[in-house]
Assembly symmetry: C2
Homo-oligomer: 327 residues x 2
Amino acid sequence: MHKTMMAVIAETDQPLKLGEVPRPDCGPEEVLIEIQASGLNRADLVQRQGFYPPPAGASDIMGLECSGVIAEVGSAVREWQVGDRVCALLAGGGYAEYTAVHHGSLFAIPDGMSFEEAAALPEVMMTVWANIFDRCALRPGETLLVHGGTSGIGTMAIQMAKYFGAGKIIISAGSDEKCAAATALGADVAINYREADFVEVVQAEGGADVILDMVGADYVQRNITAAKIGGRICNIAYMSGHKVELNLMPLMRKRLILTGTTLRARPIEDKQRIRDAVLAGFWGGVKTGAIKPVIDTVYPYDQADAAQAHLSNGGHIGKILLSRAQS
Amino acid sequence: MHKTMMAVIAETDQPLKLGEVPRPDCGPEEVLIEIQASGLNRADLVQRQGFYPPPAGASDIMGLECSGVIAEVGSAVREWQVGDRVCALLAGGGYAEYTAVHHGSLFAIPDGMSFEEAAALPEVMMTVWANIFDRCALRPGETLLVHGGTSGIGTMAIQMAKYFGAGKIIISAGSDEKCAAATALGADVAINYREADFVEVVQAEGGADVILDMVGADYVQRNITAAKIGGRICNIAYMSGHKVELNLMPLMRKRLILTGTTLRARPIEDKQRIRDAVLAGFWGGVKTGAIKPVIDTVYPYDQADAAQAHLSNGGHIGKILLSRAQS
């Protein structure tokens, strides 16, 4: 008989609730993690609405990152042992008691870091690296513009760019309080988009070499205007819309790159490459505290619904988490 | 008193004509070329219409490439001598008897190659390298799609991609005759876009890793559809329009790059870098004849008007040139 576990269950038009489901098997290349905390991501909301189905073979339980303790190690896995404290990027299955994940998506939790802090790291650090540093190849001294500067991604992008040696970090956010939080994290210029036109501010700062955007819609053209010659613009979501009318002439004239990526659908090997790059370039900063997870609120698993509503409403600064320690 | 020279003069709503103008001075980093032949480019037509003004400091005479003999060498130039047979990328000034150009934009004409053949090379080879190989980083074995497969750019893109080791070269063109010419040059698949939907054909071939486009308009979305995961789409013009309605979701989902470049406005150092890369990677192929300029028609300078009309009408295969040898 299959072992079971508790997990957050999403049923159409119903509030999220805890329920009993089969515990996942641990494949030969995987480890089974007994989860202690889970990070929320905006993709969870989209998945719940039915627009972001899990990739083939992934759990249909929500949750793209977690922390916990290894409970079982696959037969082909050499680098990890039962009892190791880890956090991991997941293709799904994070809102649960156990999850199985490929060994290449794991990070060892640094000494002294809590499970909650650790659960806030994998998705944002890997997303920031894959987009700002890999796809957009930010160079030391360049200017970075990050929209949603106090989102989970935004707060991590500021810190990783600072740690890397970006020349100038500009963010946009929706309130003076958020702008102050971003500045405290290391942003050089914080634009309250309700009060200023980000294009004008960024142009007055000399333009942006790299722009990380999750807004889409009319921001796409405005990003093109705000970019320097040779600039790279990367979308990790199109929250305000993915159908846009564009004048592409400045894309060619300024030799820009317009791109976008998602993390979840990538092959395992690609995720491992990104994990390795985060470890090599930025994990040292996590260990010393130069790069810190920014946590807004931690909810118990039986309040996943409230946690998602909080994320959806958008008043948060940093990550929203689920944690057993709160139950 | 300033020396003078003959040049093709463009006046508003008048046919092109030959006229006497001041001969350009040779700057310390430049050479003065006595021109023998000049390549036509579509940008010349746009410049004549007033939409593509020369960059600051460039000649207002049309013409972005030429071949000839060095008549004067700037005081800081060591690599070139009076009497050298050269071809060159120009920021303007090619439709004339003399032009001054930075030494980093020069190529030595291989033994046995005519001035006319040589005049057909600089713009297309540097454009193909800058877009397909530099910006889009075509890798050996990948599939390349080139629209306008029998244009000057197209005929060179096919040959350079073949020489490099592209896996599959797909082109689109507007007639069976053009498709046959492209196949003869090395294209693996040639699509007559008047008879087939290029998106369907390219998808049946497994999709494109790199797409070089000069059409724009509805081709932009169709290129996005035809691209493989991780594909790169580069526009060097938007002949059918640069204002487009786009669904960007597949750009993100497939992790595509949408980009574009121009050559003329780049800094001198960047042009020199591109020239050096063409020399290092492809000039050997020019010397052996593996890469050949494809020439459609050569006109005398006093028929520049007819030459441009021919280019504008679009029936050509390969380059249209002006040459003194025809006068």
